[in-house]
Symmetry: C2
Subunit: 144 residues, 2 copies
């Protein structure tokens, strides 16, 4: 292999790495935006976080899966209705991107009047019109 | 548009529909294989159900996410160690395929000596060397 080939291969590797980093960063930002909307109880912002399509779903803690964008957003509206103050931050955010699709696992560290603890979450995102949108959220209670 | 164009478009639509059905069927079969291995407590078959890669993960009920193929398979080995009889069937299996990636939600109807109930599951599959392999499983208790 010629040295120019090595240089070209190295450039391609760096470009691919950069694209991959951008994708992971995009998913992390979409995830952060979701939790910010969750913490603020912001229905409009929550609606912007979620994608379109029949495959949009949400499994809240101790509940069965809700299917469809409208039903999912209605469930968040019910979650927010109490108006209770909530602090939520994430730890161990692990992103995997595969084309237009990405999934992420993280720990939700919740501090609220009603509940405090560490939940396990799986969040699935899809690139819709160039923007990473949530298409599924599954959160569950987890012991320490 | 000429009638030949309509006919060609209809054929293409039918072909795409057929490919999509095959993909959904493939994911459903991979999912059924996973639950059969689960029910039988079969470590070797369970190992064949799971994919390779750093993104392989598993979130068991009431637990945090386990990362990495070896750790995930070790966790199943622990689940199976008790040797307790278990019946598990699935309901409301909803598959979404996006390229090499698919996610599925379902209800796990579990009947065991220790526990009985309906759990909510999210299963993520990836096409690895032409075979749909599980890369993430998240199951949680759900009230009726």
């Amino acid at each position: 292999m010629l040295s120019e080939d090595y240089a070209a291969a190295a450039r391609l590797r760096d470009q691919l790495q950069s694209v991959r980093s951008d994708e992971v960063l995009g998913v992390e930002q979409a995830n952060a935006r979701f939790y910010a909307a969750f913490e603020r109880g912001d229905n409009s912002e929550m609606a912007r976080c979620w994608g379109d399509g029949e495959h949009v779903r949400c499994t809240h803690p101790s509940a069965q899966c809700i299917v469809g964008r409208d039903s999912v957003l209605e469930s968040w509206s019910l979650v927010f209705r109490s108006g209770a103050k909530l602090r939520i931050r994430t730890e161990d955010v692990e992103v995997h991107v595969a084309g237009q699709f990405a999934f992420l696992t993280c720990v939700e560290v919740v501090d609220a009047a009603a509940a405090r603890g560490r939940l396990a979450a799986t969040n699935i995102f899809e690139l819709q019109q160039g923007v990473w949108k949530m298409v599924h959220h599954h959160a569950s209670q987890a012991s320490e």
